[in-house]
């Protein structure tokens, strides 16, 4: 049989596919492909200092004291309603949280609706009611909107884009570029709930669970953390791409390394079970109501205590620390005591074959 094996020097691969000609689904997954698209297409065209900062919201200096945060978030989700939330709640929380991640108090939102011909108005009413409830909870007002209708089949029910405007607290300086060696990394609770809840709600997995999306407005939780310490360096919500992708973004922006302790990262049993079955890793599954807080070690305990006594922060925990090397990398200390890299999500998260 030996002779039938070709010379291994001839063993080869196919040429690379960079997907630079057309949009594929991986461009929307929040991982490295999304980043490359943003950098190559958007940033190169729009170049300005607020955009180039690369945070969840842009910061605008009005005068010596006043700073505004402005952010935008487009929402597409299937199904429109899922356990724990719906597209309306997502759209409000998305922009509220983007503002909060800069240490801003979100005040006003605008909302753009793209509606598909044939959408029941009752469905739209339910979504809008859910937006109002979420806005009330977050303490923001939706002050302007726009509506467009597209032909049946040209959209998936409805899409919502929200813009959020907030006022940045005085005395705070928060950015993904501010992580410092020695800082503690705090996570506000269990990861992966949103991604798995939405996947389960699509009904394609053949299993059911009681899992709820974690979608929530985090501005009050973050206000409590900032009340405990204005020295917080980084705030970011690990949405698409999950915790690992978010920490990789921060590590790259701050030019530091991050070490995580696998045993400290909370993951619910239902999320773990779904990930094991599908070949997913909870570190890459989306969250919509969690925040990563990076804070100087000496303030970590009081920030943690403040978060634990705030709504949506009850399960907060220190999961790791910022280190000098290796730069722009996230390392994971496994339960077994070994160390591995937790890289950024590449393209789309795909279920494994077996």
């Amino acid at each position: 049989m030996t002779n039938d094996i070709p010379n291994i020097e001839g063993a080869v691969c196919a040429p690379p596919l960079a997907h630079e000609e057309r949009i594929v689904m991986g461009h929307g997954a929040g991982g490295r492909m999304s980043h490359q698209l943003i950098r190559k297409v958007f940033m190169s065209a729009f170049q300005n200092s607020a955009l180039n900062a690369g945070d969840d919201a842009a910061l605008i200096q009005l005068d010596a004291r006043q700073r505004l945060s402005v952010s935008v978030d487009a929402h597409v989700v299937e199904p429109l309603f899922f356990p724990g939330g719906d597209i309306g709640k997502l759209a409000v929380c998305g922009s509220v949280n983007d503002a909060a991640m800069l240490g801003a108090t979100p005040l006003y939102l605008t909302a753009g609706f793209i509606l598909e011909e044939g959408l029941p108005i009752e469905t739209l009413r339910r979504v809008v009611e859910s937006m109002r409830a979420a806005a009330d909870e977050a303490g923001v007002q939706i002050i302007a909107g726009d509506t467009k209708v597209v032909q049946k089949g040209k959209a998936d029910g409805l899409y919502i884009t929200t813009t959020g405007v907030g006022v940045v607290r005085e005395g705070v300086n928060i950015s993904g570029a501010n992580a410092k060696v020695g800082d503690a990394v705090i996570l506000s609770g269990a990861i992966g709930d949103h991604g798995i809840a939405v996947l389960g709600a699509r009904g394609e997995l053949g299993f059911q669970s009681s899992l709820q999306s974690d979608v929530a407005p985090l501005n009050r939780l973050i206000a409590a953390a900032l009340d405990a310490s204005p020295n917080i360096h980084v705030l970011r919500d690990p949405t698409r791409g999950g915790l690992a992708t978010t920490l990789n973004e921060i590590a790259a922006q701050s030019n530091v390394g991050v070490v995580l302790h696998e045993s400290a990262i909370p993951v619910r049993a239902e999320v773990n079970a779904a990930c094991e079955m599908l070949g997913f890793d909870a570190l890459y599954v989306a969250n919509e109501g969690k925040v990563v807080v990076i804070v100087p070690q000496e303030d970590a305990e009081k920030v943690l205590a403040a978060m634990k006594s705030a709504k949506y922060g009850e399960d907060s925990v220190i999961i790791g620390e910022v280190v000098a090397e290796p730069k722009a990398r996230v390392l994971l200390k496994t339960v077994l005591g070994s160390t591995r890299v937790a890289d950024m999500l590449a393209g789309e998260m795909l279920p494994r074959i077996c």
Binding site: P6, C13, L17, V24, R32, L336, R340, A342, A346
Partner: protein, 365 residues
């Protein structure tokens, strides 16, 4: 998580590692045959915990990685047809063909869907009588039972619009090929426990005898893996060339007879090209002629498609355990999961992707 966390218990794993340390007196090179095991080893960093005498090399057991280029090209051709709904396991979408991948076909309007089971594709065929539904049936022995069940189910339902594109491969001929290579370094095998759950391990004693080395049926969780390694090392140190079973909770000698019968009803052994390795005689399964009506290659007349790969990366050497992913000059530079040069980087079970995602910092430096 019950039935999983017990097998990831750090203290139990450390005990077995200690036992391996006490047992080993020589350097040994072991190959884990299955990509799922490679993934688990790198994810949990098990190779870092082993004594330096033991080297693990990664085998060709990733069905996504070894699916030959021309089969991918055939899939792309079929998936591009307007009358077709093309169904696939998720990680096949990223595998590059000669010029495109299934993501590109989807972006250009092809109806490409990720399914979790081939039976979902059969259901799609029932629901879409005006469309041809094609399932990309790849895999080792593990996925053969569900894949053949889809054909049997489609025949039972009298479906005329369902077919499968088959690229099935089998472990024993691959082991024979690796061990027959003059460059072979492998001294013991961790057998792919999930393959053995279906097939049993009656096919392996003759291989162990022929090549005079031990083989141990091994599971996928950290404790399973270190148990498999321990038993292999014990056999090596005792100079015993035989097959042992370290995955008894899932595997019997005979395997699952009804599954094997279903496979034999629908499939027959055939020659198969392995991407990065080449033709291995009788190493695959294809549809029996009596199931021609479910054979997508015949239904869509793509049998004539041929493709040659251009020499760019060392996937073939990695798949044969001759090189490790970070030995490749392209690794992590020109070749990354979102822009893969080779199939081993594409699949989440591929050794390169596992190294890239879970690799140690020094290997990525």
């Amino acid at each position: 998580m019950k039935y999983v966390s017990e097998y990831r218990d750090a203290a139990l794993v450390k005990n077995v590692i200690e036992e391996i340390r006490r047992t080993v007196t020589h350097p040994w090179t072991l190959m884990e045959i299955c990509g799922g095991q490679t993934h688990s080893i790198v994810r949990h960093g098990i190779d870092q915990l082993l004594p330096p005498e033991i080297e693990l090399v990664h085998g060709p057991g990733c069905p996504v990685c070894v699916t030959p280029l021309e089969l991918i090209d055939k899939a792309l051709s079929i998936a591009s047809r307007p009358d077709v709904i093309f169904c696939s396991y998720g990680d096949m979408l990223r595998v590059p063909g000669s010029s495109r991948d299934l993501f590109s076909v989807k972006a250009q309007g092809g109806d490409v869907r990720v399914v979790y089971s081939p039976l979902d594709a059969v259901t799609l065929a029932q629901k879409n009588p005006d469309k041809q539904v094609v399932f990309f049936a790849i895999g080792f022995e593990t996925t053969a039972p569900p894949n053949v069940m889809s054909v049997l189910q489609a025949r039972r339902l009298g479906l005329k619009n369902f077919s499968i594109l088959v690229s099935h491969v089998r472990v024993p001929p691959a082991i024979d090929a690796i061990l027959s290579s003059p460059q072979n370094r492998v001294q013991g095998f961790l057998l792919a426990g999930h393959v053995n759950a279906v097939m049993g391990y009656w096919e392996y004693p003759s291989l162990a005898e022929k090549f005079k080395l031990p083989m141990v049926v091994t599971g996928f969780e950290p404790l399973d893996l270190v148990q498999g390694i321990l038993q292999t090392v014990q056999l090596l140190e005792a100079n015993q060339a035989r097959v042992a079973n370290a995955y008894q909770r899932a595997v019997t000698f005979e395997g699952l007879k009804p599954a094997q019968e279903a496979i034999n009803t629908v499939f027959m052994e055939c020659d198969r090209k392995w991407r990065g390795i080449g033709m291995i005689p009788m190493s695959g399964w294809g549809l029996r002629p009596e199931f021609d009506e479910f054979n997508a290659e015949k239904r869509f007349a793509v049998e004539a498609i041929h493709a040659e790969e251009s020499p760019l990366c060392i996937a073939g050497q990695i798949l044969q355990g001759l090189k490790k992913p970070h030995h490749c000059p392209a690794f992590g530079k020109q070749c990354t999961p979102e822009s893969p040069l080779g199939a081993t980087m594409v699949s989440s079970e591929g050794a390169c992707a596992a190294y890239y995602r879970y690799g140690r910092a020094e290997e990525l430096a």
